[in-house]
């Protein structure tokens, strides 16, 4: 940890971040009722779900009654592509973003002016909690585009008053040059890229004394305290984790304070439930399960009880920082087979969809993720079935190259495609495993 850094930081919105628990629950209940009311009136897909479950808005009589409400799945948002989950006319929408879908079509999310204000504010909140001030020069090395990370952090940093360098992702040499020449004090990127930057720094023979870095804000991927220690020593910074997903807003759902002991949830904007992923029954604070999130202030896309598939727990007790908002532990895994590679969400079903373009039934395939140095690599193995096979080498190499290209386009990530013999993939209890993650977190 940098000598300049302290373990305490400003609290941006003490009136909500330090609100007593009972008052927070009351605020959440009031906002939940409003969101359910909007969903019932404006979202035909969700009203149909409520009716099928025999639930009406009036049945929600206390905050705990939220568990009566049907879950919203990623597929619900896909089925309503592109605008079916919007509760306001597009005239009121000022921004669109999108995230990877489980199949070809992405999930489109929209923001009203009010949504932009809330989103910017919750991002600013975790940035301040993690040490950012208006004296900082912050380099954002997240991709700018449909991904919510780049723009989400950009607006939040500006709101804090920091000087923002919108470096976007990639081009490591340029990142290092900007960092040195412009005197960057805070870094925003994925944890994987932070390690990569740190190692590149060493290779280039740069000393930490040549840099002015103090803080790092990392998200978009799972990472552990071991990776945190590595990033902090490589870059000489205090590194904090932040969490979010575009379906409920983007980054800003929760973020760590300088205690680095759990991510404070912006509970005035997001209702968290931890449930048993099998039974979907609620779990008490402290127990590990799947996070269900209901955004409490979203206008453009009011999602009710979104099933995140992320596994974590609520850390019981209060934080030494003085905030009363509950803390979630770093996300430790998924309840589905989604992989996150270099910040890109990958679903095996996306691979299957590409393979189905080549033959009616998809051949066996497997996604293998490895870490080479600091960078993650994705290999897709496909069984050379008889339908794909040819005795002519040029057809086989063409097939491999075309599959590789189509996968790259579908996943938004470079992959290595390997054709393998039938039966040679790693099997698990007789079943072919779709995903083999060999990375050590």
């Amino acid at each position: 940890m940098n000598a300049l850094a302290t373990t305490s930081s400003q609290i941006r919105s003490p009136e909500v971040e330090c609100l007593p628990a009972a008052a927070m629950r009351e605020l959440q209940y009031e906002r939940l009722r409003r969101q359910v009311d909007i969903a019932w009136k404006k979202l035909p897909y969700y009203r149909a779900k409520m009716e099928a479950a025999g639930i009406a808005p009036g049945d929600i009589r206390c905050l705990e009654d939220c568990r009566l409400l049907p879950l919203t799945l990623k597929d619900d948002l896909r089925d309503t592509y592109p605008y079916g989950a919007f509760a306001v006319p597009l005239k009121e929408v000022v921004r669109l973003h999108a995230s990877t879908g489980t199949t070809g079509k992405p999930t489109v999310v929209g923001y009203t002016r009010g949504d932009m204000e809330n989103w910017t504010e919750v991002v600013a909140r975790f940035l301040v909690a993690g040490g950012l001030t208006d004296d900082d020069i912050v380099q954002i090395a997240f991709g700018y585009g449909l991904f919510t990370g780049g723009f989400g952090l950009h607006y939040g940093c500006e709101r804090v008053g920091a000087t923002v360098i919108p470096a976007s992702s990639g081009n490591t040499e340029k990142q290092l040059m900007l960092m040195q020449d412009l005197g960057t004090t805070a870094l925003v990127c994925t944890p994987t890229y932070a390690v990569f930057l740190g190692e590149s720094l060493q290779r280039e023979g740069l000393e930490l004394a040549d840099l002015k870095l103090r803080y790092g804000f990392f998200g978009g991927e799972f990472w552990t305290d071991a990776i945190r220690a590595k990033i902090e020593s490589l870059l000489g910074i205090t590194a904090t984790d932040n969490y979010g997903l575009s379906e409920v807003v983007g980054p800003g759902v929760s973020g760590e304070c300088l205690q680095q002991n759990g991510l404070h949830v912006s509970e005035d904007h997001f209702l968290f439930e931890i449930v048993d992923p099998e039974t979907l029954e609620p779990l008490p604070d402290g127990e590990v399960g799947e996070v269900i999130i209901t955004p409490l202030t979203k206008e453009a896309i009011p999602v009710i009880r979104y099933r995140t598939r992320d596994i974590t727990r609520i850390i019981p007790g209060e934080c030494a920082c003085g905030r009363t908002t509950r803390r979630m532990q770093k996300v430790t895994g998924r309840t589905d087979d989604m992989l996150i590679v270099r910040g890109v969400n990958i679903f095996p079903s996306q691979v299957e969809e590409v393979l189905l373009q080549f033959q009616d039934t998809a051949p066996h395939y497997q996604l293998i993720c490895t870490r080479q140095g600091a960078m993650d690599q994705l290999e897709v193995q496909v069984e050379a079935s008889e339908k794909l096979f040819s005795d002519q080498m040029k057809r086989m190499t063409q097939l491999r190259d075309e599959l590789q290209e189509r996968l790259k386009n579908a996943l938004g990530l470079k992959v290595k495609l390997t054709l393998v013999e039938p039966g040679s993939m790693v099997r698990f209890q007789g079943k072919a495993k779709r995903v083999v993650d060999q990375r050590v977190f």
Binding site: E386, F389, D391, Q392, M393, R400, E421
Partner: protein, 143 residues
């Protein structure tokens, strides 16, 4: 006039070719000609064997991906210019050779080659018109 070739998909790793050779040997299938095309990841093994249907059955039982293809076996004089005399006939008629390889050598004055064409029947016509000896399946087995 056509000869059955078996093509097998092999991962490029130790022991795969050996496994195929052993399976064929154990089942008393004799390899008459072979060629291997490979990349860094995988290869395609092409075989002319004395019992192609039996070989197919055995290899499928062991879950190999394979296909049967019709190829053409051609007799050429085992002298300098022998191969050129056949290729001349083909190129004059603009017949494209996908790939070719030679039979296992025997001590005779003739050599035999395997040709893979896109249009097998048309290629056989061209070869015959050009005075080239196209071997029948029985001839191949006697080689």
């Amino acid at each position: 006039m056509k000869v059955k070739q078996i093509s097998i998909f092999l991962e490029n790793r130790a022991g795969r070719l050996d496994t195929v050779a052993k399976l064929l040997g154990e089942n008393e299938i004799n390899i008459r000609a072979l060629s291997l095309a490979d990349t860094s990841d995988f290869g395609i093994l092409r075989l002319i064997v004395d019992k192609p249907d039996r070989a197919t059955e055995v290899l499928k039982y062991y879950n190999f991906t394979l296909s049967q293809t019709d190829v053409v076996a051609v007799e050429v004089p085992d002298t300098p210019g022998g191969l050129a005399s056949v290729l001349d006939v083909l190129s004059n008629a603009k017949v494209n050779v996908e790939y070719m390889y030679a039979f296992v050598e025997k001590a005779t004055e003739k050599a035999a080659l395997v040709f893979r064409f896109d249009d097998v029947d048309a290629a056989i016509e061209v070869l015959k018109k050009g005075g080239i000896t196209v071997l029948a399946n029985e001839d191949v087995l006697k080689l």
